[in-house]
Amino acid sequence: MGLFILRRVLTMVLTALCLTFVVFFMTNLYPNLEKLAKSEGNFRMTDVEVASWLSQNGYRSPVDPDLLAAYRSGQIESEEASRGINTGFDVRLFRNYAEWLGVMPGYVIETPSGAVNARCQAPGTALEDAPNFCGILQGYWGFSSVFKDTVGSVIGTRLALTGKLMFWVMVLMVPTALLVGVLAGMREGSALDRSLSTFSITSTATPEYVSGVIFIAVFTSSAVGLKWFKGSAASAMDDANFQNFFLPVLTIALYGMGYIARMTRASMAEVMNAQYIRTARLKGVSFRNIVLKHALRNALIAPFTVIMLQFPWLLNGVVIVESLFNYKGFGWTLVQAAGNNDIELLLGVSVVSVIVVLVTQLISDIGYVYLNPRISVT
């Protein structure tokens, strides 16, 4: 078991490194950096100025000094100079990634004007005080340009809000889904089974943006006039109550519920056809006892994995629902970061979501082995 977990953890770390590198690569592609340079520096910068700004701030390798000198002295036009700039792949990417991770010392670049740009130097402190390494391993997540705050604290607050949402989603989704699945699976083909199965198929076929829109239209709009709930969950961030928080929770829970319920139903139906259940029936055990004491425990092993593996999908739903209901949590932050080219925040968000996905996969694997004595890892 120990070796199994160790191997899984090692694979997980490798996966996390690969994924964060992919995100790092994509957010640091030249057009993204160009946009960043223009928004941080000056919107009217020429291509050469953008390139030299990027190299001075440690994003790219230095621009060819001859080219820069020729451009500055007016020997070549800016169009000609911009053709000489490398906008494609830059080897510095690997070093930047290592710096961002915190396994290589941060850059210290002296600009021609004499100022020194250093990655690890916090604004207003001396260069000598700056640490050598500053990456996510040291807890330095960077600075968000949208929220004007450190990425660590942005993600912390937003994650707490989404945690609240997810907690209530789980509280609603898991028991309901298990109940629906068990009730449907205990008598295959009965009226109860058919109705509940129809319900779970419908709920898997209703993505969050469809059910959310329908719920808002029916329960909150002035056109229908029910107005039972609030169409925005913005007030739920400080003070969540049934009126402003139930619809977003229900919307996420509904889409995941159908899938878990169907898995539970399949697993329950399989167990109910097993030999030992037939033996129990022949011995005259009452139906209620068969379901509760004999079948239920074995039937719940498979859904456990499914519930854990639902997390990545829930993340998807969280992004949609938080945008739809204007709940400013983690998913909303992802949209803001991606939409506004906030590179460091986007990196932070992806690190967190990748870790969440991988950890749930690990728990699901370990839990499956732990719960099911028939599976051995050795």
């Binding site: 083909g189 076929a205 993505p207 943006y209 949609i320």
Partner: protein
């Protein structure tokens, strides 16, 4: 012209009937569900002499009641459609819509009549018509397929142009007549949206966009998944380890983040999606080439002929698709057509997300099937590995793959909607359902009619695909 009511003339007769039947049906269904908790657990039992014993009493009665009420409800719905076909706009908005959809009804009726007539000769497809669930699902799916076909190819169903903005129709409720409508259709059947465009036409045209992308993207994902999954499962070993690791890598990537990273204009400008298209779209070519060559290896002349016949057109299409003037990939002189704005990127993103799941399914099935005797027999005959994979294993894995194909089209539709919902990829004036829902949701608290029709359309299509997959699974298990 006057405003249309929802049901018009027919409503005076049919509405009260529906008002009585629908609640009654709901009550009976709920009562039956509750009662079935106490049903003695006999249900249907087969006696040794071949007869069936069924639970009688109140449970049998309830079963009869649900069936009768259900049939009555369906008849009422059909009456609405029939009256709409006859009366047109006089039968209200529903009637007018029913008439606009006439080619679809005709095509559906023909499909069902022919399929049920010859169902014994049609294999798995014919067996679908033995299951109610499967038939309902098939009906829903074909409804949207025909709608997409007739509105996209023959321009039949939609009443207005999807981009036409008529003055005075902004946010108007369903059934509002169009001012000065001498030419063209007289009403906005499902109202006007925020830009005074016809919601009904946009919903109908949106089906064309979805139907053009979703099945094709799923097919491509299957090509990729099958071409990589078969060798991974068959050979195992290091190849399997590497491919599985990559698949798990993509699967662990949050889908939304991937979309945001792939589909933003800055990334599109680097040509990255085009390079990905170059890699992903080569798989259908590889698949067909290996499929043909592994079969005809012993007849070289025939093999070359077939390969040329299939691969040359495919290669031309492939090169035209990935090549685009003025982008990073611009090398091929004979560019037959260009893929319209953003479509290629959306396509690539959706294929990329779906392919690893298909890979895992195919790999699992291959690992299971390769232990069978007929595979061993083929190996003993001295068949080549690719022949065994493509002509022995793949045909025997078709059942689960067909079922998953249906489910996956539904999932792809959901993904497309998600992309539209976040305004990624497709142009903002595109009539596809996700984009329309995204536009409609901003004013949802006041006007709900622009957002609901595309939402319900998407729901019904995905539900249909799920039911179809369920029906297929049930029928293929019965073999």
């Amino acid at each position: 012209m006057e405003d249309l009511s929802w049901t018009g003339l027919t409503g005076t007769i049919l509405d009260p009937i529906l008002m009585i039947l629908a609640p009654l049906f709901a009550v009976v269904v709920v009562a039956r569900m509750l009662l079935s908790m106490f049903e003695p657990d006999t249900g249907e039992q087969a006696n040794p002499d071949g007869t069936l014993v069924q639970t009688g009493g109140i449970w049998g009665l309830m079963r009869l009641a649900t069936v009768l009420l259900g049939v009555a409800l369906v008849l009422v719905m059909l009456a609405y459609v029939a009256s709409g076909l006859v009366l047109g706009p006089k039968a209200g908005i529903l009637g007018a819509m029913a008439r606009r959809f006439w080619p679809v009804w005709l095509a559906l009726a023909l499909t069902f009549a022919l399929s049920i007539q010859f169902k014994r000769r049609l294999g798995l497809y014919g067996k679908l018509f033995d299951s109610t669930i499967g038939m309902i699902g098939f009906g829903l799916v074909m409804f949207w397929v025909f709608t997409a076909l007739f509105s996209g190819v023959f321009d039949l169903i939609a009443t207005h142009d999807t981009l036409a903005q008529l003055s005075g129709m902004k946010n108007k409720v369903p059934g509002t007549p169009v001012p000065d409508s001498e030419s063209g259709y007289g009403w906005y059947l499902l109202g006007g949206d925020n830009l005074a465009r016809d919601v009904f036409s946009r919903m109908v045209k949106g089906s064309t966009v979805v139907m053009a992308i979703a099945p094709l993207a799923t097919l491509f994902a299957f090509m990729v998944g099958i071409t990589l999954g078969l060798p991974a499962g068959y050979y195992g070993g290091r190849l399997d380890t590497v491919l599985s690791f990559v698949a798990n890598l993509i699967l662990a990537f949050p889908v939304i983040l991937l979309f945001y990273l792939l589909v933003t204009p800055e990334i599109v400008a680097t040509g990255l999606p085009q390079y990905m298209a170059m890699v992903l779209f080569v798989f259908p070519l590889v698949f067909s080439a290996v499929l043909i060559h592994s079969r005809l290896r012993t007849q070289p002349g025939k093999s070359v002929l077939w390969l040329a016949m299939v691969l040359v057109p495919m290669a031309l299409v492939y090169l035209s698709v990935i090549n685009e003037h003025g982008s990073k990939l611009d090398f091929w002189p004979l560019d037959l057509f260009d893929v319209p704005g953003g479509l290629l990127v959306v396509f690539v993103a959706v294929v990329f997300v779906n392919a690893p799941t298909v890979f895992r399914i195919v790999r699992g099935l291959t690992m299971d099937i390769k232990t069978r005797d007929y595979v061993a027999a083929a190996q003993t005959r001295g068949e080549r590995p690719w022949y065994i994979m493509l002509w022995e294993i793949l045909p025997n894995a078709r059942g689960p793959l067909i079922v998953d194909f249906c489910l996956r089209i539904g999932y792809t539709t959901i993904l497309l909607g998600t992309l539209g919902f976040f305004g990624l990829g497709l142009p903002p004036e595109s009539p596809d359902w996700g984009t329309t829902i995204n536009e409609g949701r901003r004013l949802l608290a006041v006007y709900m009619h622009p957002a609901l029709p595309p939402a319900l359309a998407l729901l019904s299509l995905v539900l249909g695909l799920n039911l179809l997959a369920d029906g297929l699974r049930e029928e293929s298990l019965r073999d």
